[in-house]
Amino acid sequence: MKRLLKTAVGLALTAVMLFPVYWMVNVSLTRDQDMRADPPHLVPLRGTLEGYRAVLDQQLPYLGTSLLIGLGTVALTVALAAPAGFALAKLRPVGGGAFSFVLLIAQMIPGIIMAMGFYAIYLNLGVLNSVPGLILADSTLAVPFAVLIFTAFMSGIPDELMQAAVIDGAGRLRAFWSVVLPVSRNAVVTVSLFAFLWAWSDFIFASTLDGGGDHQPITLGIYHYIGNNNQQWNAIMATAVVASVPATILLVLAQRYVAAGVTAGAVKD
Protein backbone atom coordinates (compact mmCIF):
# COMPACT_ATOMS: atom_id res chain seq x y z
CA MET A 1 0.00 0.00 0.00
CA LYS A 2 2.81 2.38 0.90
CA ARG A 3 4.53 1.55 -2.36
CA LEU A 4 1.41 2.41 -4.32
CA LEU A 5 1.16 5.72 -2.50
CA LYS A 6 4.70 6.50 -3.63
CA THR A 7 3.78 5.63 -7.19
CA ALA A 8 0.85 8.04 -6.94
CA VAL A 9 3.14 10.81 -5.65
CA GLY A 10 5.64 9.99 -8.41
CA LEU A 11 2.91 10.22 -11.06
CA ALA A 12 1.77 13.56 -9.68
CA LEU A 13 5.33 14.97 -9.70
CA THR A 14 5.89 13.76 -13.24
CA ALA A 15 2.61 15.31 -14.33
CA VAL A 16 3.63 18.69 -12.89
CA MET A 17 7.07 18.47 -14.48
CA LEU A 18 5.74 17.51 -17.89
CA PHE A 19 2.82 19.95 -17.85
CA PRO A 20 4.60 22.44 -20.16
CA VAL A 21 5.20 19.65 -22.66
CA TYR A 22 1.51 18.70 -22.49
CA TRP A 23 0.56 22.33 -22.85
CA MET A 24 2.67 22.68 -25.98
CA VAL A 25 0.80 19.74 -27.54
CA ASN A 26 -2.56 21.08 -26.35
CA VAL A 27 -1.97 24.55 -27.79
CA SER A 28 -0.73 23.08 -31.05
CA LEU A 29 -4.19 21.50 -31.47
CA THR A 30 -6.24 24.49 -30.32
CA ARG A 31 -8.32 26.48 -32.78
CA ASP A 32 -7.40 30.15 -33.31
CA GLN A 33 -10.69 31.40 -31.87
CA ASP A 34 -10.20 29.33 -28.68
CA MET A 35 -6.61 30.45 -28.18
CA ARG A 36 -7.45 33.36 -25.89
CA ALA A 37 -10.32 31.63 -24.13
CA ASP A 38 -10.63 32.48 -20.46
CA PRO A 39 -10.14 30.10 -18.73
CA PRO A 40 -7.96 28.27 -21.27
CA HIS A 41 -9.31 24.95 -22.51
CA LEU A 42 -7.40 22.20 -20.73
CA VAL A 43 -8.01 19.67 -23.48
CA PRO A 44 -8.39 20.39 -27.20
CA LEU A 45 -12.00 19.16 -27.36
CA ARG A 46 -12.73 20.90 -30.62
CA GLY A 47 -9.19 20.59 -31.85
CA THR A 48 -7.75 21.47 -35.20
CA LEU A 49 -4.83 20.24 -37.25
CA GLU A 50 -4.51 23.69 -38.79
CA GLY A 51 -1.20 24.26 -36.99
CA TYR A 52 0.27 21.05 -38.34
CA ARG A 53 -0.90 21.93 -41.83
CA ALA A 54 1.05 25.17 -41.48
CA VAL A 55 4.15 23.19 -40.40
CA LEU A 56 3.90 20.99 -43.47
CA ASP A 57 3.44 24.02 -45.70
CA GLN A 58 6.17 26.18 -44.31
CA GLN A 59 8.63 24.36 -42.12
CA LEU A 60 9.62 21.21 -44.01
CA PRO A 61 12.70 22.76 -45.65
CA TYR A 62 13.91 23.93 -42.23
CA LEU A 63 13.47 20.43 -40.81
CA GLY A 64 15.42 18.97 -43.75
CA THR A 65 18.27 21.42 -43.18
CA SER A 66 18.37 20.56 -39.47
CA LEU A 67 18.50 16.86 -40.26
CA LEU A 68 21.37 17.44 -42.67
CA ILE A 69 23.26 19.59 -40.16
CA GLY A 70 22.63 17.08 -37.36
CA LEU A 71 23.91 14.12 -39.37
CA GLY A 72 26.88 16.09 -40.67
CA THR A 73 27.79 17.10 -37.12
CA VAL A 74 27.55 13.49 -35.94
CA ALA A 75 29.80 12.25 -38.76
CA LEU A 76 32.40 14.95 -38.22
CA THR A 77 32.37 14.53 -34.44
CA VAL A 78 32.78 10.75 -34.48
CA ALA A 79 35.44 10.89 -37.18
CA LEU A 80 37.52 13.36 -35.17
CA ALA A 81 36.87 12.05 -31.68
CA ALA A 82 37.07 8.26 -32.00
CA PRO A 83 40.72 8.11 -33.12
CA ALA A 84 41.62 10.71 -30.51
CA GLY A 85 39.89 8.73 -27.77
CA PHE A 86 41.71 5.60 -28.94
CA ALA A 87 45.06 7.37 -28.78
CA LEU A 88 44.45 8.83 -25.32
CA ALA A 89 43.06 5.60 -23.89
CA LYS A 90 45.30 2.99 -25.47
CA LEU A 91 48.50 4.54 -26.79
CA ARG A 92 49.06 6.90 -23.85
CA PRO A 93 50.94 9.62 -25.71
CA VAL A 94 53.43 12.08 -24.26
CA GLY A 95 51.34 15.06 -23.19
CA GLY A 96 48.08 13.13 -23.16
CA GLY A 97 47.11 14.44 -19.74
CA ALA A 98 47.59 18.04 -20.79
CA PHE A 99 45.56 17.32 -23.89
CA SER A 100 42.59 16.05 -21.86
CA PHE A 101 42.89 19.15 -19.68
CA VAL A 102 42.58 21.38 -22.75
CA LEU A 103 39.45 19.46 -23.77
CA LEU A 104 37.88 20.07 -20.34
CA ILE A 105 38.62 23.79 -20.60
CA ALA A 106 37.28 23.95 -24.17
CA GLN A 107 33.84 22.89 -22.94
CA MET A 108 33.66 25.86 -20.63
CA ILE A 109 33.84 28.55 -23.28
CA PRO A 110 30.46 30.28 -23.66
CA GLY A 111 28.76 29.83 -27.02
CA ILE A 112 28.42 33.56 -27.61
CA ILE A 113 32.23 33.95 -27.60
CA MET A 114 32.69 31.16 -30.12
CA ALA A 115 29.88 32.62 -32.23
CA MET A 116 31.55 36.02 -32.40
CA GLY A 117 34.94 34.55 -33.29
CA PHE A 118 33.39 32.30 -35.95
CA TYR A 119 31.45 35.22 -37.38
CA ALA A 120 34.64 37.24 -37.86
CA ILE A 121 36.42 34.28 -39.49
CA TYR A 122 33.49 33.18 -41.67
CA LEU A 123 32.95 36.71 -42.90
CA ASN A 124 36.49 36.83 -44.22
CA LEU A 125 36.35 33.30 -45.64
CA GLY A 126 32.92 33.88 -47.20
CA VAL A 127 31.30 30.83 -45.60
CA LEU A 128 28.60 32.66 -43.66
CA ASN A 129 25.08 31.33 -44.29
CA SER A 130 26.27 27.90 -45.42
CA VAL A 131 25.38 24.44 -44.17
CA PRO A 132 29.01 23.21 -43.97
CA GLY A 133 29.92 26.33 -41.98
CA LEU A 134 27.16 25.56 -39.50
CA ILE A 135 28.16 21.89 -39.26
CA LEU A 136 31.70 22.93 -38.39
CA ALA A 137 30.53 25.41 -35.76
CA ASP A 138 28.00 22.99 -34.24
CA SER A 139 30.64 20.28 -33.97
CA THR A 140 32.52 22.47 -31.47
CA LEU A 141 29.63 21.80 -29.06
CA ALA A 142 30.29 18.07 -29.15
CA VAL A 143 33.92 17.32 -30.06
CA PRO A 144 35.65 17.86 -26.67
CA PHE A 145 32.87 16.00 -24.85
CA ALA A 146 33.05 13.19 -27.43
CA VAL A 147 36.82 12.73 -27.07
CA LEU A 148 36.44 12.47 -23.29
CA ILE A 149 33.59 9.93 -23.60
CA PHE A 150 35.59 7.82 -26.09
CA THR A 151 38.67 7.97 -23.86
CA ALA A 152 36.72 6.89 -20.80
CA PHE A 153 35.00 4.08 -22.66
CA MET A 154 38.04 2.78 -24.53
CA SER A 155 40.11 2.75 -21.33
CA GLY A 156 37.80 -0.02 -20.20
CA ILE A 157 38.65 -2.26 -23.15
CA PRO A 158 41.26 -4.85 -22.05
CA ASP A 159 44.75 -4.26 -23.46
CA GLU A 160 45.01 -7.98 -24.25
CA LEU A 161 42.35 -7.61 -26.92
CA MET A 162 44.46 -5.09 -28.77
CA GLN A 163 47.73 -6.90 -28.17
CA ALA A 164 46.25 -10.03 -29.70
CA ALA A 165 45.48 -8.09 -32.84
CA VAL A 166 48.97 -6.58 -32.93
CA ILE A 167 50.56 -10.02 -32.49
CA ASP A 168 48.48 -11.23 -35.39
CA GLY A 169 50.31 -8.62 -37.43
CA ALA A 170 47.75 -5.83 -37.42
CA GLY A 171 49.06 -2.27 -37.36
CA ARG A 172 47.68 0.26 -34.92
CA LEU A 173 45.29 1.66 -37.48
CA ARG A 174 44.01 -1.84 -38.15
CA ALA A 175 43.70 -2.58 -34.42
CA PHE A 176 41.71 0.62 -33.99
CA TRP A 177 39.44 0.02 -36.95
CA SER A 178 38.80 -3.71 -36.68
CA VAL A 179 39.02 -4.33 -32.94
CA VAL A 180 38.56 -1.25 -30.77
CA LEU A 181 35.95 0.65 -32.79
CA PRO A 182 33.49 -2.26 -33.15
CA VAL A 183 33.73 -2.97 -29.42
CA SER A 184 33.06 0.72 -28.69
CA ARG A 185 29.61 0.71 -30.22
CA ASN A 186 27.99 2.05 -27.03
CA ALA A 187 30.34 5.01 -26.95
CA VAL A 188 29.61 5.74 -30.62
CA VAL A 189 25.87 5.69 -29.87
CA THR A 190 26.23 8.00 -26.83
CA VAL A 191 28.40 10.47 -28.71
CA SER A 192 26.18 10.46 -31.81
CA LEU A 193 23.11 10.99 -29.67
CA PHE A 194 24.48 14.07 -27.97
CA ALA A 195 26.14 15.49 -31.08
CA PHE A 196 22.86 15.18 -32.97
CA LEU A 197 20.71 16.67 -30.21
CA TRP A 198 23.04 19.61 -29.65
CA ALA A 199 23.28 20.39 -33.35
CA TRP A 200 19.52 20.00 -33.76
CA SER A 201 18.85 22.35 -30.82
CA ASP A 202 21.50 24.94 -31.62
CA PHE A 203 20.16 28.44 -31.86
CA ILE A 204 23.09 30.72 -31.19
CA PHE A 205 25.33 29.56 -34.06
CA ALA A 206 22.35 29.34 -36.40
CA SER A 207 21.23 32.89 -35.66
CA THR A 208 24.71 34.42 -35.88
CA LEU A 209 26.25 32.39 -38.72
CA ASP A 210 23.21 31.50 -40.83
CA GLY A 211 20.77 34.36 -40.19
CA GLY A 212 20.53 35.24 -43.88
CA GLY A 213 21.07 31.88 -45.52
CA ASP A 214 18.83 30.03 -47.99
CA HIS A 215 19.10 26.89 -45.88
CA GLN A 216 18.24 27.54 -42.27
CA PRO A 217 17.67 25.07 -39.44
CA ILE A 218 14.34 24.55 -37.65
CA THR A 219 15.38 26.57 -34.59
CA LEU A 220 15.47 29.64 -36.84
CA GLY A 221 12.26 28.49 -38.49
CA ILE A 222 10.49 28.67 -35.13
CA TYR A 223 12.24 31.91 -34.17
CA HIS A 224 11.18 33.71 -37.38
CA TYR A 225 7.72 32.28 -36.97
CA ILE A 226 7.37 33.82 -33.53
CA GLY A 227 8.78 37.11 -34.76
CA ASN A 228 6.61 37.49 -37.86
CA ASN A 229 3.50 35.88 -36.57
CA ASN A 230 2.79 36.10 -32.90
CA GLN A 231 -0.91 35.38 -33.30
CA GLN A 232 -0.95 31.85 -34.67
CA TRP A 233 0.27 30.10 -31.57
CA ASN A 234 -1.14 26.76 -32.68
CA ALA A 235 1.21 26.81 -35.66
CA ILE A 236 4.15 27.93 -33.52
CA MET A 237 3.50 25.16 -30.99
CA ALA A 238 2.91 22.60 -33.76
CA THR A 239 6.37 23.47 -35.10
CA ALA A 240 7.74 23.13 -31.58
CA VAL A 241 6.13 19.71 -31.23
CA VAL A 242 7.59 18.57 -34.54
CA ALA A 243 11.01 19.97 -33.60
CA SER A 244 10.87 17.94 -30.37
CA VAL A 245 10.20 14.66 -32.15
CA PRO A 246 13.88 13.69 -32.59
CA ALA A 247 14.53 14.29 -28.89
CA THR A 248 11.55 12.17 -27.94
CA ILE A 249 12.47 9.31 -30.28
CA LEU A 250 16.06 9.35 -29.11
CA LEU A 251 14.98 9.34 -25.47
CA VAL A 252 12.76 6.32 -25.99
CA LEU A 253 15.31 4.41 -28.06
CA ALA A 254 18.44 5.29 -26.18
CA GLN A 255 17.39 6.02 -22.61
CA ARG A 256 20.36 4.38 -20.95
CA TYR A 257 22.84 6.12 -23.23
CA VAL A 258 21.33 9.46 -22.30
CA ALA A 259 21.79 8.80 -18.59
CA ALA A 260 25.31 7.47 -19.25
CA GLY A 261 26.19 10.61 -21.18
CA VAL A 262 24.93 12.97 -18.48
CA THR A 263 26.70 11.20 -15.68
CA ALA A 264 29.93 11.02 -17.66
CA GLY A 265 30.20 14.72 -16.91
CA ALA A 266 28.34 16.21 -19.81
CA VAL A 267 28.17 19.96 -19.81
CA LYS A 268 25.04 20.95 -21.63
CA ASP A 269 25.30 23.84 -24.05
Binding site: L4, T7, L13, M114, A120, W233, M237, A240
Partner: protein, 297 residues
Protein backbone atom coordinates in the same frame (compact mmCIF):
# COMPACT_ATOMS: atom_id res chain seq x y z
CA UNK B 1 62.59 -4.25 -29.08
CA UNK B 2 59.48 -4.30 -27.03
CA UNK B 3 60.53 -1.07 -25.44
CA UNK B 4 61.27 0.56 -28.82
CA UNK B 5 57.86 -0.43 -29.92
CA UNK B 6 56.40 1.15 -26.81
CA UNK B 7 58.21 4.43 -27.38
CA UNK B 8 57.22 4.31 -31.02
CA UNK B 9 53.62 3.79 -29.95
CA UNK B 10 53.71 6.91 -27.83
CA UNK B 11 54.52 9.00 -30.86
CA UNK B 12 52.21 7.28 -33.33
CA UNK B 13 49.51 8.21 -30.84
CA UNK B 14 49.93 11.77 -32.02
CA UNK B 15 49.03 10.69 -35.54
CA UNK B 16 45.65 9.65 -34.18
CA UNK B 17 45.45 12.91 -32.27
CA UNK B 18 46.55 15.06 -35.21
CA UNK B 19 43.06 15.67 -36.69
CA UNK B 20 41.61 16.80 -33.37
CA UNK B 21 44.67 18.91 -32.61
CA UNK B 22 44.40 20.74 -35.91
CA UNK B 23 40.67 21.06 -35.34
CA UNK B 24 41.14 22.56 -31.86
CA UNK B 25 43.69 25.05 -33.16
CA UNK B 26 41.52 26.07 -36.10
CA UNK B 27 38.08 26.06 -34.49
CA UNK B 28 38.73 26.81 -30.82
CA UNK B 29 42.02 28.62 -30.50
CA UNK B 30 41.65 30.77 -33.60
CA UNK B 31 38.06 31.98 -32.90
CA UNK B 32 39.15 32.76 -29.34
CA UNK B 33 42.14 34.68 -30.63
CA UNK B 34 39.92 36.58 -33.06
CA UNK B 35 37.57 37.37 -30.20
CA UNK B 36 40.37 38.84 -28.10
CA UNK B 37 41.58 40.79 -31.11
CA UNK B 38 38.04 42.10 -31.68
CA UNK B 39 37.92 43.34 -28.12
CA UNK B 40 41.19 45.27 -28.49
CA UNK B 41 40.39 47.12 -31.69
CA UNK B 42 38.08 49.88 -32.82
CA UNK B 43 35.84 48.22 -35.38
CA UNK B 44 33.31 49.76 -37.68
CA UNK B 45 31.16 47.72 -40.04
CA UNK B 46 33.53 48.71 -42.82
CA UNK B 47 36.79 47.88 -41.10
CA UNK B 48 35.20 44.63 -39.94
CA UNK B 49 34.86 43.50 -43.55
CA UNK B 50 37.95 45.13 -45.02
CA UNK B 51 40.33 45.00 -42.09
CA UNK B 52 42.46 47.88 -40.86
CA UNK B 53 40.69 48.60 -37.59
CA UNK B 54 42.94 50.71 -35.36
CA UNK B 55 44.32 49.20 -32.18
CA UNK B 56 42.40 50.58 -29.22
CA UNK B 57 44.01 48.94 -26.25
CA UNK B 58 41.59 48.53 -23.40
CA UNK B 59 39.19 51.25 -24.63
CA UNK B 60 36.42 48.73 -25.26
CA UNK B 61 36.74 47.35 -21.76
CA UNK B 62 36.65 50.85 -20.31
CA UNK B 63 33.58 51.55 -22.42
CA UNK B 64 31.64 48.58 -21.13
CA UNK B 65 32.69 49.13 -17.52
CA UNK B 66 31.28 52.65 -17.62
CA UNK B 67 28.20 51.60 -19.61
CA UNK B 68 24.94 52.03 -17.65
CA UNK B 69 24.08 48.42 -18.59
CA UNK B 70 27.14 47.01 -16.82
CA UNK B 71 25.86 47.19 -13.24
CA UNK B 72 22.41 45.73 -13.95
CA UNK B 73 23.86 43.04 -16.26
CA UNK B 74 26.31 41.95 -13.56
CA UNK B 75 23.57 41.91 -10.93
CA UNK B 76 21.20 39.96 -13.18
CA UNK B 77 23.92 37.46 -14.10
CA UNK B 78 24.57 36.84 -10.40
CA UNK B 79 20.87 36.64 -9.43
CA UNK B 80 20.01 34.45 -12.42
CA UNK B 81 22.89 32.07 -11.68
CA UNK B 82 22.44 31.82 -7.91
CA UNK B 83 18.64 31.48 -8.02
CA UNK B 84 18.76 28.95 -10.88
CA UNK B 85 21.37 26.84 -9.11
CA UNK B 86 19.62 26.93 -5.74
CA UNK B 87 16.25 25.79 -7.11
CA UNK B 88 17.58 23.30 -9.65
CA UNK B 89 19.79 21.69 -7.08
CA UNK B 90 17.24 21.70 -4.25
CA UNK B 91 14.44 20.29 -6.37
CA UNK B 92 16.83 17.88 -8.16
CA UNK B 93 18.09 16.57 -4.82
CA UNK B 94 14.57 16.08 -3.42
CA UNK B 95 13.53 14.23 -6.55
CA UNK B 96 16.68 12.09 -6.59
CA UNK B 97 16.04 10.99 -3.00
CA UNK B 98 12.38 10.33 -3.81
CA UNK B 99 13.11 8.26 -6.93
CA UNK B 100 15.88 6.38 -5.18
CA UNK B 101 13.17 4.46 -3.32
CA UNK B 102 11.78 1.41 -5.00
CA UNK B 103 8.18 1.57 -6.07
CA UNK B 104 6.28 0.52 -9.19
CA UNK B 105 7.02 2.72 -12.24
CA UNK B 106 9.85 4.62 -10.52
CA UNK B 107 12.30 3.89 -13.32
CA UNK B 108 9.91 4.92 -16.09
CA UNK B 109 8.85 8.11 -14.34
CA UNK B 110 12.47 9.06 -13.73
CA UNK B 111 13.21 8.61 -17.43
CA UNK B 112 10.29 10.90 -18.28
CA UNK B 113 11.90 13.60 -16.17
CA UNK B 114 14.66 13.80 -18.78
CA UNK B 115 12.31 15.17 -21.43
CA UNK B 116 12.64 18.89 -20.57
CA UNK B 117 16.40 18.56 -20.73
CA UNK B 118 16.37 17.05 -24.22
CA UNK B 119 13.95 19.49 -25.84
CA UNK B 120 15.52 22.17 -28.01
CA UNK B 121 15.79 25.35 -25.92
CA UNK B 122 13.79 27.31 -28.46
CA UNK B 123 10.92 24.88 -27.92
CA UNK B 124 10.98 25.18 -24.13
CA UNK B 125 11.46 28.93 -24.25
CA UNK B 126 8.57 29.53 -26.64
CA UNK B 127 6.30 27.20 -24.67
CA UNK B 128 7.06 29.08 -21.47
CA UNK B 129 6.52 32.39 -23.29
CA UNK B 130 3.00 31.35 -24.16
CA UNK B 131 2.29 29.84 -20.74
CA UNK B 132 3.40 33.09 -19.08
CA UNK B 133 1.50 35.32 -21.51
CA UNK B 134 -0.26 38.06 -19.53
CA UNK B 135 -3.72 37.87 -21.13
CA UNK B 136 -4.16 34.30 -22.25
CA UNK B 137 -1.46 32.38 -20.43
CA UNK B 138 -2.34 29.28 -18.45
CA UNK B 139 -0.21 30.40 -15.49
CA UNK B 140 -2.23 33.57 -14.95
CA UNK B 141 -5.44 31.59 -15.47
CA UNK B 142 -4.34 29.19 -12.72
CA UNK B 143 -3.40 32.09 -10.43
CA UNK B 144 -6.81 33.60 -11.16
CA UNK B 145 -8.61 30.55 -9.79
CA UNK B 146 -6.91 31.09 -6.41
CA UNK B 147 -7.72 34.78 -6.50
CA UNK B 148 -4.35 36.20 -7.54
CA UNK B 149 -4.60 38.91 -10.15
CA UNK B 150 -2.80 38.60 -13.48
CA UNK B 151 0.98 39.08 -13.41
CA UNK B 152 2.72 40.68 -16.39
CA UNK B 153 5.40 38.02 -16.38
CA UNK B 154 7.33 38.93 -19.50
CA UNK B 155 6.36 42.56 -19.98
CA UNK B 156 6.96 43.98 -16.52
CA UNK B 157 10.52 44.84 -15.45
CA UNK B 158 9.74 43.41 -11.99
CA UNK B 159 8.93 39.93 -13.27
CA UNK B 160 10.97 39.38 -16.45
CA UNK B 161 14.04 38.06 -14.62
CA UNK B 162 11.90 35.78 -12.44
CA UNK B 163 10.21 34.42 -15.58
CA UNK B 164 13.44 33.41 -17.27
CA UNK B 165 14.69 31.91 -13.99
CA UNK B 166 11.53 29.76 -13.73
CA UNK B 167 12.05 28.44 -17.26
CA UNK B 168 15.76 27.83 -16.68
CA UNK B 169 15.12 25.96 -13.42
CA UNK B 170 12.62 23.73 -15.21
CA UNK B 171 15.22 22.91 -17.87
CA UNK B 172 17.99 22.33 -15.31
CA UNK B 173 16.16 19.96 -12.94
CA UNK B 174 16.73 16.79 -15.03
CA UNK B 175 20.50 17.26 -15.09
CA UNK B 176 20.65 17.67 -11.31
CA UNK B 177 18.29 14.74 -10.81
CA UNK B 178 20.32 12.35 -12.97
CA UNK B 179 23.73 13.24 -11.56
CA UNK B 180 22.60 13.24 -7.93
CA UNK B 181 20.67 10.00 -8.47
CA UNK B 182 23.82 8.30 -9.75
CA UNK B 183 25.62 9.66 -6.69
CA UNK B 184 22.98 8.14 -4.41
CA UNK B 185 23.44 4.75 -6.05
CA UNK B 186 27.06 4.66 -5.00
CA UNK B 187 26.25 5.05 -1.28
CA UNK B 188 26.41 1.58 0.37
CA UNK B 189 23.01 0.32 1.53
CA UNK B 190 24.68 -1.02 4.70
CA UNK B 191 25.12 2.55 5.96
CA UNK B 192 21.38 3.14 5.84
CA UNK B 193 20.73 -0.17 7.54
CA UNK B 194 23.15 0.74 10.32
CA UNK B 195 21.51 4.15 10.70
CA UNK B 196 18.08 2.51 10.83
CA UNK B 197 19.31 0.13 13.54
CA UNK B 198 20.47 3.14 15.54
CA UNK B 199 16.93 4.42 15.26
CA UNK B 200 17.57 7.32 12.88
CA UNK B 201 14.49 8.90 11.34
CA UNK B 202 14.24 9.47 7.60
CA UNK B 203 15.18 13.12 7.99
CA UNK B 204 18.20 12.21 10.15
CA UNK B 205 19.28 9.60 7.64
CA UNK B 206 19.26 12.29 4.95
CA UNK B 207 21.24 14.87 6.96
CA UNK B 208 23.67 12.47 8.63
CA UNK B 209 24.28 9.91 5.87
CA UNK B 210 23.08 10.98 2.44
CA UNK B 211 24.02 14.63 2.47
CA UNK B 212 27.64 14.31 3.72
CA UNK B 213 28.41 11.32 1.51
CA UNK B 214 26.95 13.10 -1.48
CA UNK B 215 29.10 16.17 -0.95
CA UNK B 216 31.65 15.50 -3.74
CA UNK B 217 28.91 14.73 -6.26
CA UNK B 218 26.97 17.78 -5.09
CA UNK B 219 30.00 20.02 -5.54
CA UNK B 220 30.53 18.84 -9.09
CA UNK B 221 26.84 19.12 -9.94
CA UNK B 222 26.78 22.70 -8.68
CA UNK B 223 29.96 23.67 -10.50
CA UNK B 224 28.85 22.16 -13.80
CA UNK B 225 25.53 23.92 -13.26
CA UNK B 226 27.35 27.17 -12.60
CA UNK B 227 29.40 26.94 -15.80
CA UNK B 228 26.30 26.06 -17.79
CA UNK B 229 24.11 28.75 -16.22
CA UNK B 230 26.66 31.52 -16.88
CA UNK B 231 26.40 30.65 -20.57
CA UNK B 232 22.61 30.61 -20.77
CA UNK B 233 21.57 32.73 -23.70
CA UNK B 234 18.81 31.12 -25.75
CA UNK B 235 16.16 31.04 -23.04
CA UNK B 236 16.53 34.68 -22.06
CA UNK B 237 16.87 35.96 -25.60
CA UNK B 238 13.85 34.06 -26.88
CA UNK B 239 11.59 34.88 -23.92
CA UNK B 240 12.44 38.53 -23.21
CA UNK B 241 15.42 39.58 -25.36
CA UNK B 242 16.88 40.82 -22.10
CA UNK B 243 14.07 43.32 -21.62
CA UNK B 244 11.96 45.13 -20.85
CA UNK B 245 14.64 47.85 -20.63
CA UNK B 246 17.55 45.61 -19.59
CA UNK B 247 15.55 44.11 -16.70
CA UNK B 248 16.57 40.57 -17.68
CA UNK B 249 19.87 41.34 -19.44
CA UNK B 250 22.80 39.15 -18.42
CA UNK B 251 26.39 39.22 -19.73
CA UNK B 252 25.56 36.57 -22.32
CA UNK B 253 22.57 38.42 -23.80
CA UNK B 254 24.30 41.78 -23.53
CA UNK B 255 27.27 40.48 -25.48
CA UNK B 256 24.98 39.06 -28.16
CA UNK B 257 22.97 42.27 -28.38
CA UNK B 258 26.10 44.39 -28.81
CA UNK B 259 27.48 42.09 -31.50
CA UNK B 260 24.41 40.95 -33.39
CA UNK B 261 21.32 42.59 -31.94
CA UNK B 262 21.15 45.71 -34.09
CA UNK B 263 21.90 46.96 -37.56
CA UNK B 264 24.93 48.85 -36.30
CA UNK B 265 26.91 46.18 -34.46
CA UNK B 266 29.56 47.11 -31.93
CA UNK B 267 31.75 44.04 -32.14
CA UNK B 268 34.57 45.43 -30.02
CA UNK B 269 32.52 46.03 -26.85
CA UNK B 270 30.51 42.86 -27.53
CA UNK B 271 33.68 40.80 -27.60
CA UNK B 272 34.90 42.57 -24.45
CA UNK B 273 31.74 41.57 -22.55
CA UNK B 274 32.16 38.05 -23.87
CA UNK B 275 35.72 37.91 -22.60
CA UNK B 276 34.60 38.96 -19.11
CA UNK B 277 32.15 36.06 -19.28
CA UNK B 278 35.00 33.70 -20.22
CA UNK B 279 36.97 34.82 -17.17
CA UNK B 280 33.96 34.05 -14.96
CA UNK B 281 33.38 30.63 -16.59
CA UNK B 282 37.06 29.68 -16.46
CA UNK B 283 37.38 30.64 -12.82
CA UNK B 284 34.47 28.32 -12.05
CA UNK B 285 36.00 25.72 -14.35
CA UNK B 286 39.36 25.72 -12.60
CA UNK B 287 37.66 25.20 -9.26
CA UNK B 288 35.79 22.29 -10.84
CA UNK B 289 38.96 20.70 -12.15
CA UNK B 290 40.70 21.07 -8.80
CA UNK B 291 37.79 19.37 -7.10
CA UNK B 292 37.70 16.61 -9.66
CA UNK B 293 41.43 15.99 -9.30
CA UNK B 294 41.03 15.71 -5.57
CA UNK B 295 38.23 13.22 -6.07
CA UNK B 296 40.33 11.08 -8.42
CA UNK B 297 43.35 11.18 -6.16
Amino acid sequence: MNRDRHVDGRWTAWLFLAPVTIYLLAFYAYPLYRNIELSLREYTVRSFVQGGAPFAGLDNYQKILSDPTFGPALAHTVVFTVASLAFQFGIGMALAVFFHQHFPLSRTLRALFLVPWLLPLIVSASTWSWMLNSDAGVVNAALGTVGVGPVNWLTSPDWALASVIIANVWIGIPFNLVVLYSGLQSIPVALYEAAALDGATGWQRFWRVTFPLLRPVSAITLLLGLIYTLKVFDIIWIMTRGGPTDSSTTFATWSYRLGFGSLLPSFGPGAAVGNLLIVMALTAGLVYIRLQRRQWA
